[in-house]
Amino acid sequence: MAQIPNLDNSPLNLKSLRELSQRELVNILKNIRGKKCLVIDPKLSGSLSLIIQTSILREHGVELRHLSADPIQTDCTKVVYLVRSRFNLMRCICSHVHNDTSKGLEREYYIYFVPRREVVCEKVLEEEKVHHLMTIGEFPLYIVPLDEDILSFELDFTNKDCQVDGDTSSLWHIAKAIHKLESSFGVIPHVRAKGKASVRVADILSHMQTEEPVNSSDMGVPEINTVILLDREVDMVTPMCSQLTYEGLLDEFLHINNGSVELDASIMGAQQQEGKKMKVPLNSSDKLFKEIRDLNFEVVVQVLRQKATSMKQDYTEMTTTNQTVSELKDFVKKLNSLPEMTRHINLAQHLSTFTSKPSFLARLDMEHTIVEAQSYDICFEHIEELIHKQEPLVSVLRLLILLSVTSSGLPKKHFDYLRRELLHSYGFEHMATLNNLEKAGLLKKQETKSNWLTVKRALQLVVEDTDTANPNDISYVFSGYAPLSIRLVQHAVRSGWRPMEEILKMLPGPHSETKRTGVLSSPSSDTLYRASEAADRLADGRRALVLVVFIGGVTFAEISALRYLSAQEGMAYDLIIGTTNIVNGNTLAEAYVERFG
C-alpha cells in the first residue's frame, strides 16, 4: 500500500493518468471471464506495483505468478501473460505451452504486450506453432508516475541501445508517451531539444501530431507550457560524480528500485531473524522523507538530530509539568511521526558507515579534481593506481569516463596504456567493454583540445564556498559542482536556447527549438497560442508547467536540483520530470560492461 505514492500534491493531474492505466488493466482482466492466472514479466512487476494494488487484482479473480522458464503450477484454465516484447520471454511462453500440451492440458492463453505488440515477437510464436492458441492484445502502459513530480517511461538502457547497438525503437516509445500526455493535458506549445536522440523525439512527436492530432480546442489552455528534451549523452559528467543528496546516496549505495530500497531487516532495527530482507518505501507520502530527500546528506544528519532532541525536550516537559488537554493532543500528534523518524535515523546511520570510509572521501576529492580540470596528471595517476589495485571495475570506469569526457579524450599514449592495464587487471573479455565505451564516445583518444574549461566557466559549473545548509545555488547537490544538465535547463527555462548557442555547440549533439500550435491551419490556433502565453502568468497562483525529459535516465541528485529550482522565489514555472528511467553512475557504467557466459 505505502509503496504507491500519493499524488495529491502534484502540479499536474497525475492521478487521473494512473487511474486510466489502472482501468485499462482491469478492463483487460474483466473481459476474460472466470478465474485466471496472471503471469507477469518480473521486470514489469515493479512498474505495476506503482499503479495498482495486488488486492484489486485479486478481486478480479486473479492468481499472480512471475514469468520464468519453469512451467507454471496452477489450476486455472485461463492463463494471461503480461509481458514486454522480448525474445527470451516469448521463448518462456512457448515452452510453457509445449509443456502443457505434452501433458494433455488444455488451457486458454492470452498475451498482453506492454506497451505494444511487435511483429518480431509474434513471429517467434508462429515459428513455435503456438500462435494460433493465443489471444493477443496490448496494455498501453507508456508512463508510470513515480512520484508527484516524476514520470517514468520505464525503459532500460536507452543510452547504450542508441549509441552502441543503434536501436532507436525506444525513441518512438518516448515520443508516444509524450503524445499520450498531450492527449490528456493539451498540446505542448514549446519544444526545446538538445542531443541527437532528443531532436529525433521532437521530430517523431510532430509527426504523431500531424497523423493523429490531439484535438485541443475543447481542452482550453494546454496545461504544460514547455517540454525540454535532454539526451543523457549531453551531460555524462554529472551522473559519473557521486551524488551527495540523501536520496542520491541511498541510490548509490542501496539502489532504489521503483521507489523503495531493499535491505537487511536488522539494519532497520527489526527484531527478526538474521538475513531477512525488508522493503522500505521511499516517496513523498512519507512527510519526513519529502522534507529531507533533496538535502545534502551532511544537513540531513543535523536535521534528524535536531528533531530527535526537540522531541526529547517535549517528552521531558510532558513528564515534569502539568499539561492541558490540547497540549497533550499536540504531543501525541508529534509522536505519530516517530516511526518515520526511526526509519530515517536507521537509514542515515547505515549510510554513514559508507560515507565515512576514507576511500569514499578520496573518491569525492578525485571527482572534484577531475571536474576542476586543472591537474590532469594527478587524476591519471590516481586511476592508474586504482586499476593496479584491481578496485571494482565499475567504479574505476566511472572515474575514467569522467576524465575522458572532461578532457575530450585521453592522449594516445595514456589511452593505450590504461586500456592495456585494464585488460591485464580485469581480463581480456573486457575488450568488448572498452569497445562499447569507445563507440559511445565515453572513453576515447584525444583528438581535439577540450572545451570543458570554457563550458565550465560559462555555465559556472564549479561554485566555490557552497553552503550546503542554506543553499543559494543548485551546486549544493554535489557540494560545489552544479550539474551541467540542470544548468542547461535553468537557462532554457529562463531564456530559451538562443542566447547560449555558442555553449550548446560545444556539447554533443544538435539542438532544436520549435513552436507548435494545437490545431494546425485552424484560425483559432493563434488565439490559443496567445492564451497560453497569458497562462505563464496565471492569476490564480498556479504557475505554468515545464516538463523536463531526460532521454537515457536521470539521477536523484539532478531531480533534487530541479526541485530546488522549482521552489525558488521568482521562478515562473513548476517543473516536472519525465525520464526513461532513474540511473546513477554505476548503472550507467554497468550497461557498457559486456558480460559473457
Binding site: E384, E385, I387, H388, K389, Q390, D416, R419, R420, E421, L423, H424, S425, Y426, G427, F428, E429, M431, A432, N435, F596, G597
Partner: protein, 126 residues
C-alpha cells in the same frame, strides 16, 4: 566489415566457454588477431588478442603443472596473484616478464597476495 567479423570471432570463444578443449579457442583468438592486424586502426586490438592467446597457453600449462583448474579465464593480474598465493614465485615472475607488467602493478599485486596468505616475513623483506 572485416573488423566486425573479427569481433564476432573474439566473442565466439566466450560463448563456448567451459569447453575442455582450449585448443580451438586459442586458434580463434589468433585468427581474430590476424584479422585485426590487417587494418592499421586496430593495432591495439591485435596486440590484445595476441596477448590473450599467450595468456591462455600459459594458464593452460599452469593448470597442468599444478593440477588445479583455477587459472584459465582469470586476468593476468589474477594469475600472478594466484601464483604468489600458491607460493610459486618463479611462475609469477615468468608471467610478469612475459607480459611486461610494470613495477608499480607488480608491487601492488605482490603486497595483496602476500597479505592474503599472511606471509608477513616475505612482506617484511621486500
Amino acid at each position: 566489415l572485416l573488423w566486425k567479423e573479427s569481433w564476432e570471432l573474439g566473442k565466439n570463444p566466450m560463448a563456448s566457454k567451459g569447453s575442455p578443449l582450449h585448443g580451438p579457442r586459442i586458434k580463434l583468438i589468433e585468427k581474430a588477431q590476424s584479422l585485426f592486424s590487417e587494418t592499421k586502426e586496430h593495432i591495439f586490438e591485435s596486440k590484445a588478442a595476441e596477448e590473450h592467446a599467450k595468456l591462455l597457453r600459459i594458464q593452460h600449462e599452469l593448470e597442468v603443472s599444478t593440477k588445479q583448474a583455477i587459472f584459465v579465464d582469470s586476468s593476468i593480474s589474477d594469475t600472478i596473484r594466484t601464483c604468489i598465493v600458491l607460493g610459486n614465485h618463479r611462475a609469477a615472475m615468468k608471467v610478469k616478464t612475459e607480459f611486461k607488467v610494470s613495477e608499480k602493478r607488480w608491487y601492488w599485486l605482490k603486497v595483496f597476495a602476500l597479505a592474503t596468505i599472511r606471509d608477513w616475513d616475505a612482506l617484511e623483506k621486500f
